[in-house]
């Protein structure tokens, strides 16, 4: 024990410090102190972890328990297991239709964003268009400053003038316009990182530009396209403000809006419905997230240049 402590201490003392070897009794004392500090640190670490887990798990507990509880209350408690609540959900026409609406909005926006962003990003990555750098700078600036919240008044007006109020197409177009700048940016970054020798090789073999895009570029950037697809679908799936602003009739509203009406309609909220609906509504994003992180590894995007 004592010798171990000595080597340990030597490891930590600054190099080049000469002088006599430390007094053995002092060493033992110091080792005891170091051990105590270690123990305190370890306890501190586990306390921190427990508090952290409690903080992040507490609000989620209800989502895990209530859907399966025979008599769901607002308090999270061990459920008296049943699947009956899901019947309530499946019988509610608004709930199921709203999930369908969410799917429609997410898929529509996802397709538009992926196709348009991929075309634009490829052209911007490979061809020096006039004013390209200024355009990219403006796009980056726009995507961060013009947010749905800051532009909600004219967005509402615009949709009104174009007769896109209460139209799902309107929501899709507005969301696409908002997501495109970031999508172009992320994808351009991705394409800049793809070696040009693949395309040049195909070019030397006589492939036409469109053949090159079809045979070589699209398969090469497929992971990037998948990332953008998942990202935009997730953004739309959870978006509350734009459909809340632009849609009027409940039968066109997506889950985010319909869910809000469930618990603010006054009176007693139907907890069986809300809990199962929350679970079903959350499941797709969690699954998508798991898919992305297992397939491509969770890579860090979000506007950060690597």
């Amino acid at each position: 024990m004592s010798t171990e402590a000595t080597t340990d201490l030597e490891k930590h003392s600054s190099p080049g410090r000469g002088g006599p070897p430390p007094d053995p009794s002092a060493t033992g004392h110091l080792a005891g102190l170091a051990g105590a500090r270690q123990a305190v640190r370890r306890i501190g670490f586990y306390v921190f972890c427990c508090l952290l887990l409690a903080f992040f798990a507490l609000p989620l507990l209800w989502l895990a328990c209530a859907p399966f509880d025979r008599t769901p209350t607002i308090t999270a408690s061990l459920p008296d297991f049943t699947l009956q609540n899901f019947d309530t959900l499946f019988d509610n026409p608004y709930a199921m239709r709203s999930l369908g609406n969410s799917l429609l909005l997410a898929a529509g926006t996802g397709v538009l964003v992926v196709v348009f962003a991929a075309l634009a990003a490829y052209a911007l990555s490979r061809v020096r268009l006039p004013g390209r750098d200024a355009l990219l700078y403006t796009l980056l600036l726009l995507s961060s400053i013009v947010t749905g919240t800051a532009a909600m008044v004219p967005l509402f007006n615009l949709a009104f003038e174009l007769h896109l109020i209460d139209s799902q197409l309107g929501v899709i177009l507005v969301l696409t316009g908002g997501l495109l700048p970031s999508a172009i940016f992320i994808l351009k970054d991705f394409m800049d990182g793809t070696p040009r020798s693949y395309e040049e090789s195909a070019q030397v073999f006589g492939a036409s530009p469109l053949q090159i895009v079809r045979h070589v570029v699209v398969p090469l950037v497929r992971p990037g396209l998948a990332t953008i697809a998942v990202w935009s679908v997730a953004q739309v799936w959870g978006n509350f403000l734009i459909p809340f602003l632009l849609l009027r009739s409940p039968e066109k509203s997506p889950a985010a809006v319909v869910m809000y009406t469930f618990y603010t309609e006054g009176g007693q909220p139907d907890l069986a419905l809300i809990s199962t609906f929350s679970l079903l509504y959350s499941l797709p994003v969690v699954l998508m997230f798991l898919l992305v992180s297992s397939r491509y590894g969770f890579r860090f995007h979000g506007g950060i240049k690597r």
Binding site: I74, T75, A120, A151, G238, M259
Partner: protein, 322 residues
């Protein structure tokens, strides 16, 4: 479209001018597929049209509306009049505006700058050398809070903070505490920390992964304590990441509409942060012109944050290849 810059001189195929410092092999600008400029323009156009229609145009219209007395209903709805900068001067003099701005500041500083960034860094630092189940569990929970739809999250928190049957009151043995009514600002701040810490955690984890272990080991061999290692080795290396993180989460939190789902701005406007304030003013009360003027002020604040960020980013990039 927003490009008003002059055509680039370096574009002429054999032009000798423009382009300072072009490398012998400008790999960046090789048209590797032989796409050609007309086709490239055709590729870019649809995206630009959508962005122009649904992002640029609304932004410009916001500025125009801010100069009118436009209202949702009534006489001014049919024939809005230009009122110049009156809306802006009114807004700046208006008590409810400065009240909302103050609340927004509390919300951004408390939940983003201190809460998310601080907690995110703490988790990343504590977990930096750990692998295994505990770390995966912590990360999974933090990330779940981040990815779930905001409507679901909002209800989870309403349930958690409920006065009579809330899980929090049950856990703390404080029955009857109406958190959202008694501590509304604190509630939405804690809520936003819970919701958004994942981004900071991941960013700092990535940043800490880039600190070369040999630097930390050198510091440890020299006898530096944990805090000294942080101060002398870690912070100087990740200064750029901290900057990026703080500015992005400030921007996002500043524009966050989710508190509306929790409190609808109440009680008595105590959580009426800027986005909620604009929504209520413009779309509930119908004062579109005045609401737009405040939107413009919000755009301006966003612009300042974004420009500061991009200037610093560019400066760092110029410093980098040394």
């Amino acid at each position: 479209m927003p490009t008003t810059s002059p055509p680039d001189a370096g574009l002429a195929p054999r032009g000798a001018g423009g382009q300072a410092g072009a490398a012998p092999r400008p790999a960046r600008d090789r048209d590797a597929a032989g796409l050609g400029r007309p086709r490239a323009a055709a590729f870019v156009t649809p995206a630009l049209l959508l962005i122009a229609a649904f992002l640029v145009f609304p932004a410009l219209w916001t500025i125009y509306l801010g100069l009118t007395d436009y209202r949702l209903t009534g006489l001014a709805a049919a024939d809005p009049q230009m009122v110049g900068l009156d809306n802006f001067t009114d807004a700046l003099k208006d008590d409810s505006f400065s009240h909302s701005l103050g609340l927004t500041l509390q919300f951004v500083v408390g939940s983003a700058v201190i809460g998310q960034a601080g907690l995110g860094f703490l988790i990343a630092w504590v977990m930096r050398n750990r692998r295994g189940a505990l770390r995966r569990l912590v990360e999974a929970l933090v990330l779940t809070a981040w990815i779930l739809p905001s409507s679901v999250i909002a209800f989870l928190w309403i349930a958690l903070l409920d006065r009579d049957d809330g899980t929090l009151n049950a856990a703390l043995h404080t029955p009857g505490t109406a958190w959202l009514l008694e501590h509304p600002m604190l509630s939405i701040i804690v809520f936003n920390i819970w919701r958004g810490t994942a981004f900071s955690m991941m960013l700092y984890a990535a940043a800490l992964g880039n600190v070369p272990p040999s630097h930390l080991e050198t510091a440890r061999l020299a006898g530096a304590s944990g805090w000294q290692q942080l101060r002398d080795v870690v912070f100087p290396r990740i200064r750029g990441h901290i900057l990026t993180n703080l500015l992005l989460i400030s921007l996002w939190t500043f524009n966050d509409f989710t508190p509306f789902l929790l409190t609808s701005g109440g009680p008595e406007d105590k959580t009426e942060v800027m986005p909620v304030f604009i929504y209520k003013l413009a779309l509930s009360n119908g004062e579109l012109g005045f609401g737009a003027a405040i939107s413009v002020l919000m755009l301006l604040i966003n612009l300042v944050i974004a420009v500061v960020y991009m200037t610093l980013l560019r400066r760092r990039k110029e410093d980098a290849p040394a």
